[in-house]
Amino acid sequence: MHHVMGVDGSYPLLVALWLLPLVGAIVCWAFGPQLKTLSGWLASAMLGGSFVLAVLSWSAGTQNSGGALGAHQALLSWLPGIDFGLLLDPLSLLWTFIITGVGFLIHFYSMGYMDGDRAYARFFAYMNFFVFAMLTLVLSDNFVGLLVGWGLVGLASYFLIGFWFERPTAVAAARKAFVINVVGDVAIMFAIFAIFLNVRSMAFGDVFAAVGSLGSPLLLTICVALFIGAAAKSAQIPLHTWLPDAMEGPTPVSALIHAATMVTAGVYLIARCAPLWSASHDAQMLAGTIGAVTAIAGAILGCVQWDIKRILAYSTMSQIGYMILGVGVGAYQGGIAHFFTHAFFKAQLFLAAGLIIHALGNEQDVRRMGGLRTKMPFAFWAILTGVLSICGIPGFSGFFSKDQVIYGALAHGHPWIYATSIATAGLTAYYMFRLLFITFLGEYRGNAESHAGASDAHHAHHAPAWIMNLPVGVLVLPTVAIGAALMWGGENSPWARYFAPQFAAVTLPAPPISELVTSAIVFMVVLAGFAVAWSRYATKAAQANAVERLRTEAERIPAVLTNLFYFDAFIDLVFVRTAQLTGTLIARILDPHLIDGAVREVVVVTRTAGAFVRSLETGLVRAYALVLAFGAACFIIYYALVAGGVH
């Protein structure tokens, strides 16, 4: 008996939605030189088409007939017991909206940002390929299909981090990201082994139907393996070190892959496997704790960064920590809500940061910015709305989702995770306003000749400014208002009703602190973070000798923070160096001297036996002859003794 999730049947629209970006990727890759700048329009159009199809699939994805939720389309039989198919239910539909919708805006923006690049068409081929891979990940109806998408998004991420592959730092960052993600891939493979051995199927429906028959140690093993995969993809401690380095990629890549979509795949995985997680309290404890630790560690490291993209990268790591702890402890709707709003405001922040980086001639150090509020007012307002949203200022989108997560942790009985996530909110306010103040207030401290409007003079064939400004402007709306529009009203909000059939309702004892009081506490902590940032960077005294003050601040950062809690050093020492040392030992000593030594013993023996043998080659000839003669002798003796006796 197969438990298919979703209403089984033919749903060709879903296949078209899934394959359009692949078509775009292949065309851009094969005909890039001919298409030139058309490739940007083509790739954007493919995503636009996918987004329209996703909107048209709304009713199919949310249909609910007798327990079967969403639409299902069978594809092919890969192996006996492993069939591939696509599943569109509320969960995957939501991700599809973000992937294609925000993806479309970022593709559009990229036409301006990547203008004039030597591999313009290749960029769009990779971007479209990424979207195809990400859709494979979220639309698959089984674990192997999910793993295929999981691996392919890792590949797309590798290509795009190392897009400017003349830079050795980009090449190294790409390899690091890929290898750490393969650690996650093989962990999911291990989970697949355990699942297949016990369930004999890979389909989500079959596996979730069999949860009751799996013992709790086995369930924990599967959840831990899946969580390692989630942690690698979603940059959770200790597998987070690739994400800040991934900022070597072009800024639109950071916005799409390393903020809005791919890095949230771990959140998707846990939400998808909600029946497994809900059945294992230990797995919930693990995911909640790691998420909380990542949230606060990312926020702490975000406070001491100077590269605008790295500040945003650590902030992403911290925010994904929120999402993971949300879905980890069982507050699925809250964790997913934070993914949803974060996709808008973080894409907004990255794209707006891209405007600055683009205008300043690839300057990314905030110490060499300053005073940009008057020079780039559009970027200022864009970043300001993003900052207000990420800090969770009441009314903005981030407020609704973040408070759901924080309160969810308490409601599910994890007071320490609750406290940690409140502290993280204060740190978030500090480092985000720090970014805003250093970048936009005071005097300009850089030396880029071409900032703001002057950049046009430098690039004769520059794309018009509106191509990059338009997507940023469009994103302002959801950054500010989508939370209020969808998540206002608790149980009766559109958000809660949308997900009600997806996640089984659980009744929890009322926590000692109410949701309203929680929001008030969080707001106070956020205000405190803001006040510290204001006093350090925004007051007249702070701006009077900003260059000097920032230099002293950089010098005073404790070593443990400049070394990023020594995670990189630890991984390098324990894993990378050990592997290289073992390899060197084998290649230099074991293989040529010890193991091969046995062979040369034979040569030496023959050499001493025949004193006239001079060279190595002839020594080997002797050895060869010796073996041959010995073998022939054995053969003859054997025949004489045994074979003769038979006849």
């Binding site: 392919l152 590949l155 082994f193 053969f635």
Partner: protein, 462 residues
């Protein structure tokens, strides 16, 4: 007759090429490629045919009996495909002789895979060493490598011959490959098993019998190592399945611990060594040691899924090894070096070469969607199912290492800034592209539809 013709055609044309009056590159290339393509067609057409001719009746029955088994069909097809692709883009001095050797290599290996008689199998086992030996003698700077290759493999071949003779005497016939119900028992059986096992492990190779392999693979010209590394390495594994596993299953089971330990050591040892090599060919050679170790574990694990996965992975490994060696050969043709220290930045001027190399490396590191992933996943699933949890975890660790060393290989050659001291050559020619494209396309097809190959195992395992 078609089966016999499949084997004889490349051998006869190979000898005929030696008789060609002068070293005509075009004629040699066209003759070699068309013969190899013809063998592809003949292998497919002769899939269900057999041909037999009685050879010995005393002391045991033996026959020149040829015909594909479901397993050997795929290996013969792989061999014919790799040979055609390798010959098509060969650029080498003394082309006529080289292509003649390539055809002799193909013919003798076809003989090995299509043999249904154990004695004929053992005969071709030794014959297929000779073209490689002359390839090393004629086209490498180190004759010692040729001798080392021959000593190692001939020693293995001799053990195989002894074991075969003993087998024939006890069973009464060596005309047994692919036949059900043949079972060797008695006091000699362990010795026969030992003979087969050592021969197969040397040929594969498995640690610690592998030291001939990195040298041979490094010194052989690229088109020949594409065939040797891709297909000859499967001879031992094929023997393990159709001889050891089929006729002596209880000994395979009894000594599976030894095989698994050796396989697991090969897995990690090869991967660690591949991490630090500077010679691109050596990276691929040590990666082979690692991958072949995993296949050996899968074969002896006694699990149906693991065996099916092993066959898929044998084909996948053949396809990507051939592509990797050929492309490294193209790079060496252009830049006269294979050193990762000296190479770099080729991707800017050679996007097509970089693209092909990238696909081959990704298939080799087990990217989901390509053939290597399908094979690895099913093999490890089977190994895990058989109760060997730790070997399956070692296999997973090796996948992580593979990602590291294959990306190091790819990036070391194709990425980074363009180097001033490397001459900029033209991108992949259409002939080179056409030669490597079928291998890459096959990797995708097998990755998406692996069950066609896996069906070959439906009736083999009890």
């Amino acid at each position: 007759m078609l089966v016999l013709a499949t084997i004889l055609l490349p051998i006869l044309v190979g000898f005929a090429l030696f008789a060609l009056p002068r070293d005509d590159r075009t004629v040699s290339r066209i003759a070699g490629t068309s013969v190899a393509i013809a063998t592809i067609v003949m292998v497919v057409a002769g899939r269900d045919l057999e041909w037999s001719f009685r050879w010995l009746s005393r002391p045991f029955e033996a026959a020149f009996h040829f015909g594909a088994t479901p397993i050997s069909f795929w290996l013969a097809l792989l061999l014919a495909l790799c040979t055609a692709c390798a010959i098509a883009s060969t650029r080498i001095p003394r082309m006529r002789n080289f292509i003649a050797l390539m055809l002799l290599l193909e013919g003798t290996m076809l003989g090995l895979f299509l043999a249904r008689d154990l004695l004929v199998f053992a005969l071709f086992w030794d014959l297929m060493l000779i073209p490689v030996f002359f390839g090393l003698i004629g086209w490498s700077a180190h004759p010692a490598t040729a001798w080392r290759y021959l000593v190692y493999n001939f020693a293995g071949g001799l053990l195989l011959l002894l074991a075969t003779a003993a087998f024939g005497v006890i069973d009464g016939s060596t005309d047994v490959i692919g036949r059900a119900g043949v079972h060797v028992v008695g006091a000699w059986a362990p010795w026969i098993f030992a003979g087969f096992a050592v021969a197969f492990l040397v040929k594969t190779p498995v640690w610690p019998l592998h030291t001939w392999m990195p040298l041979t693979y490094t010194d052989l010209p690229a088109p020949m190592v594409a065939v040797v590394g891709a297909v000859q390495s499967k001879a031992g594994l094929y023997g393990l399945i159709v001889v050891a596993l089929a006729f002596l299953p209880e000994y395979v089971q009894q000594y599976s611990g030894v095989f698994i330990v050796l396989g697991a050591i090969s897995l990690v040892y090869g991967a660690a060594a591949a991490l630090v090599q500077h010679d691109a060919k050596r990276v691929v050679a040590y990666s082979s040691l690692s991958h072949l170790g995993l296949i050996a574990i899968a074969i002896v694990s006694g699990n149906q899924l693991a065996l099916q996965g092993a066959l898929v992975y044998m084909i996948a490994h053949g396809l990507f090894s051939a592509a990797l060696f050929m492309i490294v050969g193209y790079v060496e043709d252009r830049e006269s070096t294979r050193s990762l220290v000296r190479l770099g930045g080729l991707g800017w001027a050679n996007p097509r070469l970089a693209g092909a190399f990238c696909i081959a490396c990704l298939a080799a590191l087990g990217l989901p969607g390509l053939a290597g992933f399908a094979g690895e996943l099913v093999m490890l699933l089977g190994i895990y199912q058989a109760g060997y949890v730790w070997p399956s975890i070692v296999g997973l660790v090796a996948i992580v290492l593979a990602a590291a060393y294959f990306l190091r290989l790819y990036q070391g050659i194709m990425n980074g800034p363009e180097l001033d001291d490397l001459p900029v050559r033209r991108d992949l020619t259409w002939l080179e592209g056409l030669a490597v494209a079928p291998l890459l396309a096959a990797l995708l097809v097998v990755g998406v539809q692996p069950h066609a190959i896996m069906a070959a195992f439906a009736g083999v395992v009890r």
